[in-house]
Amino acid sequence: MIRTRNATLYAGLAIFGLFVLMALLAPLVAPYDPIFQDAAARLKGPSLAHPFGTDNFGRDILSRVMHSARIDLQMALIGVAFPFAIGTVIGAVSGFLGGFVDAVLMRLIDVILAFPFLVLMLSIIAILGPGLTSFYIAMALVGWVSYARLIRAQILVLKNSDYAMAAQSLGFSRLRILFRHLLPNAVAGSIVFSMSDVVLVLLSGAAISYLGLGVQPPTAEWGVMVAEGQSFVTQAWWITLFPGLSIVVLAFGFSLIGDGLAERLGVNG
């Protein structure tokens, strides 16, 4: 059994590693400049010179897909990191303190969860204006609620555990008990959840960019590329196929990591 668990996790990590490598090495190994327009090579199908073909501006799709990995990976990871950090602190404090603070924060979470995720994201971006920074801010404002809920539920259980009592009777400060003793035991579930969340963030970021409200052209980003290829989809399928496929494979990698971690940490994803 142990072998298959590791296989899932390592297969996911391998896919993720491949994308990280692609992102880091894109400027060195990409065959063309991702925004260079070659007027002589417009809408060319996959060939040896352009393995993924070219778009309507004569830009090389393979190079654009590789450079996009830089943006999309960053988008997915930052888009999870802020909500994770904010949600963990708020959830921990809320669960630990209880009482009025807890009640207010939980009602706030109920309200934020009442909005469809993407609708609230788009409404915030409407106010901040399109762009990647707006996406991160909106993500931080909306995404923390799931983490806060998870951590709070854990802390509520753990704060009555024997070792919490023991630490308390040793005279440790409340802050120390919360952050040094309870929190490390509470985060396993959040870490597993973050792997399914990162898929959601990647898909949302790409969708928001596809709609024209995230990453702005001519920057290469998978969602942007799909949007640019949309009008040519029946005559030049390669413009849309490859960036979308990259999202699917990267998301699959994240899902495998999540499944592998869930089994290894003994958490129900």
Binding site: A114, P116, L118, V119, A207, V248
Partner: protein
């Protein structure tokens, strides 16, 4: 018997704070935009009369909490302001856009159930075998499909073989509308079914091993009937809740898919309103979507109680 349904009367009271919170958030969001709120709401080409009008309607010179009071008072009268682009009341505008979105959600859920139930059944009845693993891999893959891309791939694959399928817009007659909904709902259904499949499969495996199934088998019932009469109905109960939990995600999906297929629903309205800085519309659509989410969860509670006599809420 009926006392199990008493929550139908009390539950809406618990929704009130949430709805109040929703109105506060949408109110604050629009007021956070820098500049004169009246000008923000009416656009740069607004006439002085229109600005004076909106000032008095929303009490824009008053302190913030009083402005909020005016905002709620207008809401209770069904006044969400006017769209600067469409030049009609926001609520009226939204009402004309509800039908395509509702139809899209309905067809997507129906299709995804039609896809998920048979696949989950095959996987559950062959637990641990090749088919089971294949279904699991497919569903893990499917979760990562971006809907906007899947939509274009479906256009690419299906519009070639079935040229009759329209790739954008919405019809006038019922049959015309249904034809226009095929590709959009298929797009959402393919993603949604992967989520449903996982939960259905797990539930079916549990129920296949349950006393209910064993007792049925002991009575000499054929396995096929045990499965469809006892296992499937019981497994669907948790899935109803899963659908409700995912309604927010589903609405997000309709926003994107309506934009891809130029389907004139609320999602497309929201995206267009953001581009044209039609903030009254953004505010209105966000609020209606939030209320719809709360309402759907309420309906799911009722459905769960109706489907399972043991559940008490």
């Amino acid at each position: 018997m009926l006392h199990r349904y008493r929550f139908i009367l009390t539950r809406p009271l618990q929704f009130l704070p949430v709805i109040l919170g929703v109105s506060i958030i949408t109110f604050v969001l629009v007021r956070l935009i820098p500049g004169d709120p009246a000008r923000v709401l009416l656009g740069t080409k607004a006439t002085p009369e229109a600005i004076a009008n909106i000032r008095s309607q929303f009490g824009l010179d008053l302190p913030m909490w009083q402005q909020y009071f005016y905002f709620v008072k207008n809401l209770l009268h069904g006044e969400m302001g006017r769209s600067i682009i469409f030049k009609i009341d926001v609520l009226q505008l939204i009402v004309t856009r509800i039908e395509p979105t509702l139809a899209l959600v309905f067809c997507s859920v129906l299709l995804s159930v039609l896809i998920a139930v048979p696949l989950a059944a095959v996987a559950a009845r062959n637990e641990g075998r090749f088919v089971d693993h294949a279904v699991r891999v497919v569903s893990t893959f499917g979760i990562g499909f971006p809907s906007f891309w899947l939509a274009l791939m479906l256009i690419l694959l299906l519009s070639v073989s079935i040229p009759l399928l329209p790739v954008s817009g919405y019809g006038n007659t019922l049959s015309d509308k249904l034809v226009h909904l095929v590709l959009p709902s298929l797009t959402i259904a393919l993603s949604l079914s992967t989520v449903l499949m996982r939960s259905l499969r797990a539930a079916m495996i549990d129920w296949l091993k349950s006393d209910v199934a064993t007792a049925a088998r002991a009575r000499g019932m054929p396995e096929r009937i045990v499965f469809w009469r006892h296992v499937v109905p019981n497994s669907v109960v948790p899935t109803i809740n899963l659908l409700a939990v995912n309604i927010g995600w589903l609405i997000g999906g309709t926003v994107v898919v309506e934009s891809v297929f130029a389907l004139p629903g609320m999602g497309q309205l929201l995206v267009r309103a953001i581009f044209s800085r039609d903030y009254m519309v953004v505010q209105g659509v966000a609020m209606v979507f939030a209320c719809a989410t709360v309402f759907v969860n309420f309906l799911a509670d009722i459905a769960t109680v109706a489907a399972d006599p043991r559940v008490k809420l």
